[in-house]
């Protein structure tokens, strides 16, 4: 008897979940709370954005220095591996065995000759080709794989990938435009500014799990309005100010953005007096913590958000990439990768590391964000029909040449609504 004929197996794959939601009539100046909580929304985002025609940050070339060096990462909820092959090229592979789907690589970094799935020891080359599998010819003359089993048909998939100045990006889609076209000139200029083709040096990582929807982190990085209010460390010690010369530029139809400001030091003005938490009398003992040494950016602080989930930027002398890994509707992982240039002197490397204290889970600045986003998630989860208001700086989506603006969030939701058909 054929089991398949009598089983209750579904005949076809289920269609993607239909989203039954209506965007508020005010348009992109309102954000409905259900975009942060609805599992159907989340599934559609994973399929449409992370698995769709987007370019996703995977890592830095300096993280995989030699043949067989690998780094595990995720694109949305899909596990991937970045690995350098024997020819010195960098591959981005799906991290799943062609046999039963297990993750074949369980460690974040390491060096291997090839990959072996721990479950049944299927073995793959650094290019993802299936090299062999145990008992292919059976045991004791019995069993084994069918004679026509073709290992070439059962490799692990290698994604389209590019290397831009030492940063590695990949896409699941054959329809995605070129990386350059995807980014557009403004975002590309920011990446090239940060990665000017010099050899990079890996300095370290920080990782954290933040109990909020991944878009809240994206919005946080598109929201300079909060920076001077929530981050008292910034204003108290003069790293960032509401009256700093700055720009907010939505690009890529609102998906990406560029945000720039200039480090102008500590001073008391009308803008700082608005801030309830500004304390002009506070002094930091170790001024070096907030004092960048002059370098290529000439005090220009900023960065680019590259949709869906990466940000490149500089803070004091700390160079880093931020990568957001969604972990369900109400959580995301945030990974900072700190780097420098191979031609940095010892002093500069020390400063890059020291200024990394601003960032990450316990960073003098960044810890405010993860704490805050948890509170936002708790609030919106309790009131899924509620609305967020993003009208600071107006109701349009034109670039702004000042800081106190939510234009980048509005532009993002203009993009988002069209893409999600909401």
């Amino acid at each position: 008897m054929n089991c398949l004929e009598t089983s209750a197996m579904p005949q076809a794959a289920e269609a993607p979940a239909a989203v039954r939601r209506r965007w508020p009539e005010q348009g992109y100046t309102r954000i409905p709370n259900w975009v942060y909580t609805d599992p159907d929304i989340y599934r559609k985002e994973m399929a449409l954005f992370f698995a769709g025609p987007t370019w996703n940050y995977v890592g830095l070339e300096c993280e995989v220095p030699e043949a067989g060096s690998y780094k595990r990462n995720w694109i949305g909820d899909k596990p991937v591996i970045m690995v350098r092959n024997e020819a010195g090229e960098i591959n981005v592979l799906e991290n799943r065995c062609a046999h039963r789907g297990a993750q074949i690589c369980w460690q974040n970094t390491g060096t291997v000759k090839d990959f072996t799935c721990p479950y049944h020891q299927w073995n793959y080359s650094l290019n993802g080709n299936l090299q062999g599998l145990p008992f292919r010819r059976g045991a004791m003359g019995k069993g084994g794989m069918p004679r026509d089993f073709d290992p070439k048909q059962h490799g692990i998939r290698r994604l389209r990938s590019v290397n831009r100045g030492g940063s590695i990006w990949a896409t699941f889609s054959e329809d995605a435009p070129s990386f350059e076209d995807y980014c557009g000139p403004e975002v590309l200029a920011e990446i090239d500014h940060m990665l000017p083709g010099k050899k990079l040096k890996l300095l370290g990582y920080s990782r954290q799990l933040i109990p909020s929807n991944w878009k809240m982190y994206l919005e946080n990085l598109k929201d300079p309005y909060h920076a001077t209010l929530l981050h008292t460390f910034y204003i108290t010690f003069g790293l960032w100010r509401a009256d700093s010369k700055s720009e907010c530029i939505p690009t890529g139809g609102g998906a990406h953005s560029v945000m720039i400001s200039h480090n102008e030091g500590k001073k008391v003005t009308e803008a700082t007096s608005e801030m309830a938490r500004f304390r002009g009398d506070l002094r930091i003992q170790d001024l070096e913590t907030v004092t960048p040494r002059a370098e290529f950016n000439r005090g220009r602080v900023g960065g680019a958000w590259i949709f869906p989930a990466a940000q490149f930027g500089i803070q004091a002398n700390s160079l880093k990439t931020r990568h957001v890994i969604p972990r369900g509707p109400a959580a995301h992982e945030l990974v900072f990768t700190y780097y420098g240039y191979e031609d940095d002197d010892e002093e500069m490397t020390r400063l890059r590391l020291k200024h990394a204290n601003l960032l990450g889970p316990a960073g003098f600045v960044s810890m405010d964000d993860s704490e805050m986003l948890k509170q936002v998630q708790t609030g919106v989860t309790g009131y899924p029909e509620g609305l967020g208001v993003v009208e600071m700086g107006g109701r349009d989506t034109r670039p702004a040449d000042y800081m106190v603006s939510e234009v980048l969030i509005r532009a993002f939701y203009e993009f988002y609504r069209e893409a999600m058909e909401l």
Partner: protein, 107 residues
């Protein structure tokens, strides 16, 4: 100067099904092969995945590892296809009255 030979195994113990036999010499596993009517010996451990070559398959003078189908030339120990890239040790063999001896050094 004379060669030193050590008794390793008996021809009669080589499996007629696989043409191989795993034997141990000074704590090292050795694979003995009957290739047509010739007796050969190599290291038994595949350097790729640490499997026993004695559980593999002989074909046209080559041994295919049972784990990931790496193939070695039995006579020379040369690796012939991925995933194996390093040669395996080959022993000099002589057979007397059904006893298999391998050369273990020069006395």
């Amino acid at each position: 100067m004379s060669e030193q030979w050590t008794l390793l195994a008996e021809v009669a113990d080589i499996s007629p099904d696989t043409g191989t036999l795993r034997a141990v010499l000074d704590g090292e596993a050795v694979c003995v092969y009957k290739v047509d009517d010739r007796i050969c010996a190599t290291q038994d451990r595949c350097p790729h995945g640490n499997a026993s070559l004695a559980e593999g398959y002989i074909e046209n003078g080559t041994i295919e590892c049972p784990l990931h189908q790496g193939v070695f030339d039995i006579a020379s120990g040369a690796p012939l296809c991925p995933p194996v890239t390093t040669p395996i040790k080959v022993y000099a063999v002589k057979v007397e009255d059904g006893h298999i001896y391998v050369r273990t050094g020069q006395a």
